[in-house]
Amino acid sequence: MQNTGINLIFEGQNLARILQGLLITARVAFISIFISLILGFIFGLIYSSKNKIIRFFCRLYLELFRIIPILVWLFIFYFGFPELLDINIDGEVVALIVFIMWGIAETGDIARGALESLPKHQRESGMAIGLNKIQLYRYILLPQAFRRILPGTINLATRMIKTTSLIVMVGVMDVVKIGQQIIESNVLKVPDASFWIYGLIFFLYFIICYPLSKYAKTLENKWNK
């Protein structure tokens, strides 16, 4: 058992390359999660409007990301628009655009739900002490809504991290693609390469996502009291 797969991980540049791929995965995921959270909260505020037309367009935007697979969105931005507009967009930029747009839609829906779930009396009690609309949101509604959206957005964040495995389709060398390359170039001399390399990748995703979902649970328990 000279050439077992576990040695392959530590052979040459392999581990460094995998970690580099992980860095790209994490970069795309965390930048888009961060921006999605901020803009998504604003989208949620707009979405919670009582105006039917505004609601319709917000709903339409959200549903577009629920109905059309993320992969198709990636293709539209990577192959569709550049062709149409005669420009060149880098794969990672495409990934960021699509993930941010998706994240805004989903965060917005969570924020809308949270805002609408606040009891009507909270609004009235705030108004009764003389808060204007902006103060009402700033001191009463947003702080409460924020607590309610946090667990949901953390679940969304883990989903986004996992979905980054699709960005290889637009030419971004993420951790999965690099793993695949290592396996392909070694599979003849190391037959069980895929087990060990994918095993490692499984483990890497796990150590990123697990603490997040654990944290979401903790917050949920803490704030649901």
Partner: protein, 209 residues
């Protein structure tokens, strides 16, 4: 209804409130003078709460006028955020802000809206908390308080804005009978201290006292 002064705080003239096709309030006339305590008693659903809510702009009225200190506040140009600072209101469902502790609940209005000095308000808040017997709970969160305690805090929160009149909307209706008394006591003491009040209730207890 005993008149202690002729200085009218609130005057309602020919007030009409219509929900859709249903006229809930039809030509109400009422005036409340300084230091006066008006108790409005009646079965639920007869429009008492609605009347109270029109007084601080939570419900719009269709006809008639409401005067606060002789100034018409019922036209569309009224600045309700200013008016509401003069009218303290306590609701049935003791709505404290759950993300703030007791003292922050009380300080929010005076410091953020009235821009008063925090230390000065703090002294007043502690004094009021003392009066309602809750001085030791000032750092507690609403979830740690009983219904009666929350309602007493809600009264303090409204009082700390130094309102000219206090509105009570069925403040004891969702309380355990055991706790009704502690809240009533606070309201009675307020009456003795000369606070102008308008109280809406379905129960006799308040009326009796």
């Amino acid at each position: 209804m005993s008149k202690k002064s002729e200085n009218k705080i609130i005057e309602i003239k020919n007030l009409h409130k219509i929900f859709g096709e249903k006229t809930v309030l039809k030509g109400i006339d009422l005036s409340i003078s300084e230091g006066e305590v008006v108790v409005l008693l009646g079965p639920s659903g007869c429009g008492k709460s609605t009347l109270l809510r029109t007084l601080n702009g939570l419900e719009k009225i269709q006809e008639g006028e409401i005067l606060l200190d002789g100034v018409n506040i019922s036209d569309s140009s009224s600045d309700w955020t200013k008016i509401r600072q003069k009218i303290g209101m306590v609701f049935q469902n003791y709505e404290l802000f759950p993300h703030l502790n007791v003292i922050d609940n009380i300080l929010l209005g005076p410091t953020k809206i009235q821009n008063r000095d925090k230390n000065e308000v703090l002294v007043q808040a502690e004094e009021l908390l003392q009066k309602v017997g809750l001085a030791d709970r000032k750092n507690a969160y609403p979830r740690e308080l009983s219904g009666g305690q929350k309602q007493r805090i809600a009264i303090v929160r409204a009082l700390c804005m130094n309102p000219e009149i206090m509105l009570f909307d069925e403040v004891t209706a969702s309380l355990d009978p055991e706790m009704v008394r502690e809240v009533l006591e606070v309201i009675l003491n307020l009456a003795k201290s000369g606070m102008t009040m308008f109280i809406v209730t379905t129960k006799w207890d308040l009326q009796r006292q």
